[in-house]
């Protein structure tokens, strides 16, 4: 009896703690977004973050994009050639990248690279009382420290995803046209003809904006809410990557169903 009671008491505690955490997360989100005017007043804050979050991820994203594109080129060629449809390789590669792989893989890489770094940075600033220090200097740490990072992430993600897709298309071209002998002109013209600005490109951009919001939000919140110890920080960093991955894949399904469902 006792054991069962304890079980439910513990379960209840966990549920309440989880709900509280969700609440804190949403409050923080509202505060971060409400700090938008801080960026208008000091654009340099945002530019700095665009560099750290965005520019420093460019090499990783473009290389990964190129490799993924090469694999798509290989796999696509193998499948399509069974139906004599190699000419459609360009469309297949581009559609997979722009609709799915671009936003999703970029977001996963982003969570691993920029997200974990953001969590560690904010968590360490909290542990070393830098955030408290700002508050006592009458500077709001959410607006000053978190808001620029939030928008830096939101702006960077679609740009990185576009870059990923672009290098992916080049990777597919390199394998398909360069190595496997697909006609150069068909590769591009089919792609140009069949990829729809609205259906494919806009929807891909919407996805990556959503992922940008969610990944950066998770990363910043985990850092801000972390227990200020080395263990707490390492857990928070892990949670950032794991939660981001789940959120990205789950949301991708929902968004895809909404966009291409009808």
């Amino acid at each position: 009896m006792r054991v069962i009671m304890d079980y439910f008491v513990n379960l209840g505690r966990k549920v309440i703690a989880a709900l509280e955490k969700t609440g804190r997360g949403h409050m923080l989100f509202v505060k971060m977004v409400a700090g938008f005017d801080e960026i208008l007043r000091r654009p340099s804050l945002l530019i700095r973050q665009l560099f750290y979050i965005g520019v420093l991820s460019v090499l990783l994203i473009s290389l990964s994009g190129f490799f993924v594109g090469m694999v798509l080129g290989l796999q696509g060629f193998y499948t399509l050639s069974q139906f004599g449809a190699e000419a459609s390789l360009g469309v297949m590669v581009a559609a997979s990248l722009v609709r799915e792989l671009g936003p999703v893989v970029t977001a996963l890489l982003f969570a691993g690279r920029a997200g974990s770094a953001l969590t560690a940075e904010i968590g360490l600033m909290k542990a070393t009382e830098q955030l408290s220090g700002l508050e006592m200097m009458a500077v709001n740490p959410v607006r000053r420290v978190l808001t620029p990072r939030m928008f830096g992430g939101i702006v960077s993600m679609p740009l990185l995803a576009a870059m990923f897709s672009m290098f992916g298309v080049l990777g597919g071209w390199f394998v398909g046209v360069g190595l496997l002998g697909v006609d150069d002109g068909t590769y591009w013209s089919q792609m140009q003809g069949k990829i729809d600005l609205h259906e494919d490109i806009y929807n891909g951009v919407i996805k990556s904006v959503v992922f940008g919001v969610v990944c950066t939000w998770i990363a910043l919140f985990e850092g801000f809410d972390s227990t200020p110890t080395s263990e707490g920080l390492s857990r928070a960093t892990t949670r950032t990557v794991v939660h981001s991955a789940f959120a990205i894949l789950g949301l991708d399904f929902i968004l895809t169903a909404m966009m291409f469902g009808e």
Binding site: M125, T128, E129, Q130, S132, G133, L134, E135, M136, M137, A138, V139, N140
Partner: protein
């Protein structure tokens, strides 16, 4: 002096605060006077840092009020709170310097934030503040290159950058060598007397603290156990104060955090 000047700088009434199940403050009353060095002493873990955070409005009490310069800090809106904080300096136990900018930029930070000084004025002011703590030569160093004691002194320069009405020092003496300790004691005194910056010093370094304090509060177990001038405390009748002031290992203050009986604990393993 006007009447305003004689009201306490910080007025704490019936302060209650706990962390989880642990009661940290259980009805604390305190009047911290203006233009004096007030020391708050107590053993490690009694909540001295917590008290400073309550005064700075970073934590909310469960009950009771904290008035700073006549304003109830926990009922102010954000704007008014930040305005008041510009007149409160705080020296954190760890320094709390921003690690991604240099010493110079750290001290310049609050000035850039809250004033429109020209860059040559700003430079002069920052160098003067750094000179006051003896670290003008370290202006181009990064916080990670400083020792703990140096970092604390840079943080002090930053805390006085806006010429606040008060400074809260959290353990200013730990990690200082005897020379910089002496300099620091003098500095706190002269900031207090010449610049009229009221000082609240939180510490368990009994000798140094008694040396500079005008008024001392001793806290333990969530209450103020004694208050008065250093001389009054030195001849205190309370065993508790005697033990703390003289640093005796045995007495009413237990060295151990509350725990079960040692033998039982060991046998139960």
């Amino acid at each position: 002096m006007s009447v305003q000047d004689e009201t306490p700088l910080v007025k704490i009434r019936n302060l209650h605060f706990s962390r989880g199940n642990k009661v940290i403050f259980d009805g604390v009353d305190m009047d911290i006077p203006r233009r004096k060095v007030t020391a708050i002493m107590g053993p490690s873990g009694t909540g001295k840092t917590t008290l400073l955070k309550l005064i700075g409005g970073q934590l909310r009490p469960e009950q009771g009020t904290v008035e700073v310069d006549g304003e109830d800090i926990h009922s102010l809106n954000t704007k008014a709170l930040y305005k008041l904080r510009m007149r409160m300096g705080m020296l954190f136990q760890s320094g709390a310097l921003l690690t991604d900018i240099s010493v110079f930029e750290n001290v310049a930070y609050p000035l850039r934030e809250h004033t429109d000084l020209s860059s040559s004025m700003l430079r002069k002011l920052v160098l003067m503040k750094l000179e006051a703590v003896g670290l003008r030569g370290a202006r181009d160093m990064m916080p990670s290159e400083l020792s703990g004691g140096m970092a604390r002194r840079v943080a002090l320069a930053r805390a006085i950058a806006l010429d606040p009405m008060m400074i809260m020092y959290d353990e200013p003496f730990t990690g200082q060598d005897p020379i910089s300790m002496g300099v620091l004691v003098k500095l706190i005194r002269s900031l207090n007397d010449a610049a009229h910056i009221s000082s609240i010093v939180v510490s368990h370094d009994v000798q140094e603290t008694l040396e500079i304090a005008d008024q001392v509060f001793v806290i333990s177990n969530g209450k103020v156990v004694e208050s008065g001038s250093p001389n009054e405390l030195a001849v205190s009748k309370l065993d508790w104060t005697q033990q703390f002031v003289k640093g005796l290992p045995d007495g009413p203050v237990p060295f151990h955090y509350p725990a079960d009986d040692l033998n039982e604990d060991l046998l139960n393993s």
